[in-house]
C-alpha cells in the first residue's frame, strides 16, 4: 500500500491554485498562450511505418505492420485496421504493467474512431482475394514519455507512421489463379496505403471556471482541469469524432468556438505531417540510389 503511495506523482495544493489563478490572467505555467500548441517534431525510423512524435516533452512512438488474414464474414472485400496501445510504466509511474488501463483503452478508442470510422484508410484496396485473404493493418502505439496530451501526440504518430508504411505487393498466380504470391521488397517495390484524408485530434482542456479554455493541456494542467474535449477533424474541417470526458458541462457556443480553432490547428498539423513525410520519402529515395564510387576509377 505504502509502496504504491510512494510511486505515484501527486499535485500539490500550491500548484493547483497557481495554475488556476494564473490562467485567469491568461498565463500558463510553461509560458505559452492559452491557445498555443507545444513544439511538435516528427521523426521516422529506419523501417517503413515507424514514427516517433515529440510534442513538448511528450513522446509517442508508433509502428505499423501488416499481415495476410481471412476477412470478416460480413465484409469479404475489406481489409482490417486495428490499433493497439502500450502504456509502459517507464513513461509514467502511474501506468501499471500488464493489462491496459482506462486511459489506454480510451486513447486507443479515440484514435480508432477518428481513423476507422471516418474511413481515412481505404480498406477495400487491402483485399487480395475476396472472402479468402485480406491485409490486416495493425498500428502499435507506444507511450515513451507522458507530459500531457497523449491523445494528440499518439494520433499524429499513428498518421505519420501510416503515411510512410509500405506493404509488400502481392499477385495471384498458380494454375487456377488462386495462388497468392507475395513479392519481397527487392523484387517489386512495396505499395503505400491509400489514405483519403488525415484526421487530426485536437484536445482542449476546461476548468471549473467556465471561461477558461486551453489548447494542448500539459500533464500538470490535466491534473487540474475538470473536463476536456478531443475533436478529430481533417484539414477540410470535416469533424470525424468528438470525445468529451469529464463531468464538466460545456456550452454549445464554446464547442462551436473550439471547432473553429481546431480546424485551424488541424490544417496546421496536417501540413506539418505531410512535410515531414515528404522529407522522409525524399531521403529514402536518395538512400535507395546505389552509388558505385569506384566504378570509374580504373
Amino acid at each position: 500500500m505504502e509502496q504504491r503511495y510512494a510511486n505515484c506523482w501527486r499535485l500539490t495544493v500550491n500548484e493547483k491554485k497557481f495554475i488556476e489563478s494564473s490562467l485567469l490572467s491568461e498565463l500558463r505555467v510553461d509560458g505559452r498562450g492559452s491557445l498555443e500548441y507545444r513544439k511538435l517534431s516528427i521523426k521516422f525510423g529506419k523501417d517503413n511505418g515507424s514514427a516517433e512524435v515529440q510534442l513538448g516533452e511528450t513522446r509517442v512512438m508508433s509502428f505499423v505492420s501488416a499481415e495476410l488474414v481471412q476477412p470478416y464474414k460480413d465484409r469479404p472485400n475489406e481489409g482490417t485496421l486495428s490499433i493497439f496501445t502500450e502504456f509502459s510504466p517507464m513513461a509514467d509511474p502511474s501506468f501499471e504493467p500488464g493489462r491496459p488501463g482506462e486511459s489506454a483503452v480510451e486513447l486507443g478508442r479515440i484514435i480508432d474512431r477518428g481513423l476507422r470510422e471516418s474511413r481515412a484508410i481505404d480498406t477495400e484496396s487491402l483485399c487480395v482475394l475476396s472472402a479468402k485473404l485480406v491485409w490486416a493493418i495493425r498500428i502499435d502505439i507506444h507511450i515513451l514519455d507522458n507530459a500531457g496530451n497523449l491523445v494528440d501526440a499518439a494520433n499524429i504518430a499513428a498518421l505519420a507512421s501510416l503515411s510512410t508504411f509500405r506493404r509488400s505487393e502481392c499477385s495471384l498466380g498458380g494454375e487456377d489463379g488462386q495462388q497468392v504470391v507475395v513479392h519481397p521488397p527487392e523484387v517489386r517495390e512495396p505499395l503505400p496505403l491509400i489514405i483519403h484524408h488525415l484526421p487530426v485530434a485536437v484536445t482542449f482542456g476546461f476548468f471549473s471556471n467556465e471561461n477558461l479554455v486551453v489548447l494542448d493541456p500539459t500533464y500538470h494542467e490535466e491534473a487540474v482541469m475538470t473536463g476536456s474535449m478531443t475533436v478529430t477533424l481533417n484539414a477540410n474541417g470535416d469533424v470525424c469524432a468528438i470525445q468529451k470526458p469529464g463531468r464538466q458541462g460545456i456550452f454549445q457556443r464554446v464547442i462551436m468556438h473550439c471547432l473553429k480553432l481546431a480546424h485551424v490547428k488541424a490544417a496546421d498539423i496536417t501540413t506539418k505531417i505531410i512535410d515531414a513525410v515528404e522529407k522522409h520519402n525524399i531521403q529514402r529515395e536518395v538512400q535507395k540510389v546505389k552509388r558505385h564510387s569506384n566504378c570509374f576509377t580504373d
Partner: protein, 240 residues
C-alpha cells in the same frame, strides 16, 4: 585544477567517473584516514566507484561522487521539499521523491506538544529537514533545525513548485550564487525554496514573475554559467 586536487591522492577529482573505476589505491596511502561518501566503496585495497558522476573531494579527507538524477536518495541533514500524503495519529506521511515515503513526527515542530499538533491538508507543500535516513527504514523528517528552532522550515503557502533533477537543485544551492539566480534576483523580486530532492518552489507577487523565474531555472539545467547569464538577461529584456 592543480590547486583544487591538492591534498588528495588521486587525479580523478572533479573528473567524470563511472561504475567500476578505481579511484584510490589504499596500499600506497598508509597512515591516512579517508572518509567515503555516496557512490564509492572499498574493494579490498582499492576504492572503486559505484555510480556515474563527478568525483568530489573536500579537504582534508572526504571523497564522494556527485551525479544528477531524477530519483532522490534520502540523506541525513538534507533540506527537502515534501508533499503531505496522509496524516496518522503520530506521523505525517510525506512524499520526498525517495524510494519510500518519509515520516514526519507530529511533535517534530518548534515547541511541539500533543496539544498543538499542526494541521496539514493532503497535498500541502512543506520545507523539511531529513533527520534519519537508514536503508530499509522510512526516512524521518523534522520541521526544526538542529537547535530545535523552526527557522525557515514549515509549510509553504501559495507559489508554484516544479520538479527537476537533483543536479539542478544542487546547482541552485551552490555558493557563490549560481549566475541565473544572481541575474534574475537583481531585477525581479521573488522567494525561492530549493529542496535537495529535486523540487523547487518559487513565489512572487505576480504570477507572470513566478512563471518567468520557474522557466528560466528549468532551462538553465544544461547551460554553462555564461550562457545562463545571457539567457536570463534576454528574458528580462523581453519582460521590460
Amino acid at each position: 585544477m592543480e590547486s583544487k586536487s591538492a591534498g588528495s591522492s588521486t587525479n580523478f577529482v572533479d573528473q567524470l567517473v563511472y561504475p567500476g573505476d578505481v579511484v584510490l589505491d589504499l596500499s600506497t596511502m598508509t597512515n591516512q584516514t579517508i572518509k567515503l561518501g555516496g557512490g564509492l566503496r572499498q574493494d579490498g585495497d582499492v576504492i572503486s566507484v559505484m555510480k556515474a558522476g563527478r568525483l568530489r573531494f573536500s579537504k582534508p579527507n572526504k571523497y564522494w561522487v556527485e551525479s544528477s538524477q531524477k530519483r532522490y536518495v534520502p540523506h541525513a541533514e538534507d533540506s527537502v521539499l515534501g508533499i503531505i500524503v496522509d496524516s496518522r495519529s503520530d506521523n505525517f506521511l510525506v512524499d520526498i521523491k525517495g524510494p519510500t515515503l518519509a515520516f514526519l513526527p507530529v511533535l517534530a515542530f518548534e515547541g511541539g506538544t500533543r496539544r498543538n499538533i499542526p494541521k496539514f491538508e493532503v497535498g500541502a507543500l512543506i520545507y523539511v529537514r531529513v533527520v534519519k535516513a537508514i536503508p530499509g527504514m522510512n526516512p524521518e523528517l523534522s520541521c526544526t533545525d538542529a537547535s530545535g528552532k523552526a527557522g525557515e522550515f514549515g509549510a509553504l503557502k501559495e507559489g508554484y513548485m516544479f520538479e527537476c533533477s537533483t543536479g539542478l537543485s544542487r546547482m541552485l544551492l551552490s555558493t557563490p550564487t549560481c549566475p541565473v539566480l544572481d541575474t534574475l534576483g537583481k531585477k525581479l523580486s521573488f522567494e525561492i525554496a530549493v529542496g535537495l530532492n529535486g523540487r523547487v518552489w518559487v513565489n512572487a507577487s505576480s504570477p507572470s514573475t513566478t512563471i518567468i523565474v520557474a522557466n528560466a531555472l528549468i532551462n538553465s539545467e544544461v547551460l554553462s554559467g555564461v550562457q545562463q547569464k545571457i539567457m536570463a538577461e534576454k528574458l528580462l529584456q523581453r519582460v521590460q
